[in-house]
Symmetry: C2
Subunit: 487 residues, 2 copies
């Protein structure tokens, strides 16, 4: 044990640790852990070259390098690390699986990454109270599977659901295709156990479905991107598993027709469980990537899913199908589990598939009011044409949430400059239509320079003061969420 | 015009205004309004005896007396009043219809009541985006009616829905019977325009269904009981009106059987739209009050409503009916609109009807995890027996939210002391079962002494600091929500 610990320390000393501050902090952190929990030490703190490299990324293009990686296994250990960090002014970045799209878990300012992947127990599936209690490191899909076994259902399903953690989902207020009917993560978080930056433990909410005692701190923590506290336990509302789902594809030979369908479906009497959109760029990229059998000539397609009681679900699907047909779409219903799965695999493959078009992806997730999808898609097409850029659009059209992907090449300086410039145009168009610059990915690092386009000075001032209430030393996930000059 | 204004001022001077501070403040307020908006003055500020009396109450037993009542008609006027109050350290209490159960709108410390009843426009029913935009003074039921006309649906339905305002609903995070399926007010608020205590206007959210830019200030403001800001515009999510509803009554000859039914229904695959409970005391009180045809011999009764597509709703109702029957209940389905209405009229009459039992009602609205209703009802029965008190229980059993009414007489000193003492016993039992002391009524004045039983010191400390971020002078609805010694 000691040998391993020493060898790590030597590695840390010799090449991996940022000079100055970090080295000393890391030594101190090692000492701290050594005292706290000598036997388990090596699993809990590391500064190996590979690890510092790996924990410097997430799914955005941002990059950092932590001074060390700490892996606590329970709330007490998180609290110990936080209290230590607070006392010694060590910046901490909480991290789940690192699947975030905006750099929220990327360490800046020589921060220590506090990885919650080891806290991955499903503590309780409480069928009687329709509540699941989990640790933050539980993979979203693992909970889904466990729940389905007993006829229960946790709706939020981000595209990364097979890898991402529920703690990360809570920190980012993750959405997913089912949000159009079932809402996003915040709609399921009944309570949280959170370690504050000074190590104190804050409990909010619990196993009840209602509660109005004091301010809603639970909801304030959801979506706070790890800047207010470190989430160590999550109480989630769960639902009965819907009896039946019907999955269908609808193809269009015009983008406008697809957009009009979306608008008509969202204002119809049926709420689909998913209403996903793909434009021709996305369809072709996916087919090029995996041959899923999508119609590459279609200008757009909608992936629509309806769920509910067996007695009514087919009728509802038919209602939606007739709306689609009336807008000029061609509908096909997935006949079996295999076809359903293939459609969803295609949908989930879009993000990686797009890299076949160009090596660099600038990925935004704007939202407009649901009826304004047609206008927004028109704006996006104009921005692409004006700047001679490839922009592939797909996403959760049912909530007005479009994933806008500018496909470019970082090494092509002129094109890249034009691409980054057009981000501002896209956001301007979004805000002009009454939208928001992020529906589910958050701000993190990649969007913080644009926050002032959407939020007023008053709003940013209040948020900064709230940050200060929770984190007076500014050591929890510093440098995120707020515009650079305002932080 | 001038004469009216002068006569009011004279009235204010001669008898109605609290001496000292208030008199001067009121004079200053008059002067301020005179300058701002001379023509509209008399409708906007008053200090008449009757008004000061009326605006000193809500639906709780709390009582206060404002120094004046201000009735702004738009955001600018609210902002002007707030800026004036901020500069002059005048406490302000925002108020909707005054139907609150915990004294949230009762003025303390010679506050000026800022009544939003004049801001009662439905600004927009935006069918395309499934959003309604309203001013805070709109009556809940008026919005419901307007929406139903166009096939839309706003679920939150507090018992006072025919009188209460949406601004008040937002401030209290109001619930209602439909919450068991559709959630509470916070689940429908997409955005808010809020005037801060210093007069600045804060805009949060808007017409989009998703949004993760910055901290969720919208949700922080919902349920903040008028202590953080004055809500001047509300963006609400609306749904398609369900095709069909089925309403049924289920009677039981034992309380336990009814409680077991609730527990089995909530963990079944059907989510009813309402799952209301009444005990024998409540049934008898209602029948004594209005002869609605409820079975007075029943030990308990469930009012259950199911909604959804025509094709499946009867099947779902039958599933629930069979769960009820299996627990020993006797089910009857309302055959027509008239019968449905009569059942709901009976349900909504409980609160006033209870006064027939005893003249004083101590009214709590505890919540326990949904499966623990049987245990909680047992605890309540024991507390009633031990203290020789009449406790009538009814409420939203489907969310575990029970309205506990200790019926007593304020003039019977000994009994009243025992009644108030038992409140603490009830809360202790609730918290022991993992519950919360308020599901939808809020804290206001009547519960603030008990807040420390539920919230930790850390939690209260953070909430107080957040209050201070929004209201550094502590002039917005002072003296509410926090335990007396901690405020």
């Amino acid at each position: 044990m000691w040998q391993r610990w020493l060898s790590w320390l030597v590695t840390a000393f010799s090449e991996n640790i940022h000079p100055g501050f970090c080295y000393n902090q890391t030594i101190m952190a090692f000492e701290f852990f050594k005292k706290k929990n000598e036997d388990n030490l090596p699993g809990k703190l590391s500064a190996g070259k590979e690890e510092l490299f790996c924990y410097g990324f997430d799914a955005s293009s941002s990059e950092g390098k932590p001074s060390a990686v700490v892996r606590p296994l329970n709330t007490q250990e998180v609290s110990d690390v936080a209290a230590y960090a607070f006392k010694n002014n060590v910046p901490i970045v909480p991290r789940g699986a690192g699947t975030g799209m905006t750099g929220g878990a990327v360490p800046l300012k020589d921060a220590v990454v506090l990885s919650l992947e080891g806290m991955n127990r499903i503590i309780d599936i409480d069928e009687k109270n329709m509540v699941a209690v989990v640790e933050p490191g539980v993979i979203n899909f693992h909970l889904q599977e466990r729940l389905e076994d007993v006829g229960l259902f946790y709706p939020p399903d981000p595209a990364s659901m097979k890898f991402c953690t529920l703690g990360g989902n809570v920190a980012e207020n993750a959405g997913g295709p089912r949000a159009v009917k079932y809402g996003v993560t915040k709609d399921y978080v009944l309570g949280l156990e959170t370690v504050l930056p000074d190590g104190r433990v804050l409990m909010t909410g619990g196993r009840t479905y209602k509660g109005v005692v004091g301010y809603d701190l639970t909801r304030l923590l959801v979506g706070s991107e790890g800047t207010l506290g470190i989430i160590t336990k999550i109480f989630l509302k769960v639902l009965p598993l819907p009896e039946e789902t019907v999955t269908m594809l609808c193809t269009y030979d015009s983008l406008d027709a697809a957009a009009q369908s979306v608008s008509r479906i969202t204002s119809s009497s049926v709420i689909p469980r998913a209403l996903e959109f793909m434009d021709n760029e996305s369809i072709r990229a996916v087919e090029n990537y995996g041959s899923f059998g999508l119609p590459v000539d279609a200008e757009a397609l909608l992936l629509i899913e309806v769920d509910g009681p067996r007695a009514s679900v087919m009728e509802e699907a038919e209602k939606i199908a007739s709306v689609c047909t009336a807008s000029g779409g061609e509908v096909s219903i997935a006949e079996d589990m295999f076809s359903k799965q293939r459609i969803w695999d295609a949908r989930r493959a879009i993000s990686p598939a797009l890299y076949r078009i160009r090596p660099t992806k600038i990925n935004e997730d704007i939202v407009v009011p649901r009826g304004r999808i047609p206008e927004m898609l028109k704006e996006l097409r104009e921005i692409a044409e004006k700047n001679n850029l490839i922009i592939a659009n797909f996403g959760h059209a049912g909530d007005g949430n479009i994933h806008v992907n500018i496909m470019t090449d970082k090494n092509n300086e002129e094109e890249y400059r034009s691409a980054t410039k057009s981000v501002r145009d896209i956001f301007e168009a979004t805000l002009k239509l009454g939208g928001t610059i992020s529906g589910e990915h958050g701000i993190g690092l990649t969007k913080k320079q644009y926050v002032g386009m959407e939020l007023s000075d008053v709003s940013i001032e209040i948020m900064k003061k709230i940050k200060n209430v929770f984190d007076p030393k500014g050591i929890l996930n510093p440098g995120k969420m707020f515009p650079p000059d305002k932080y």
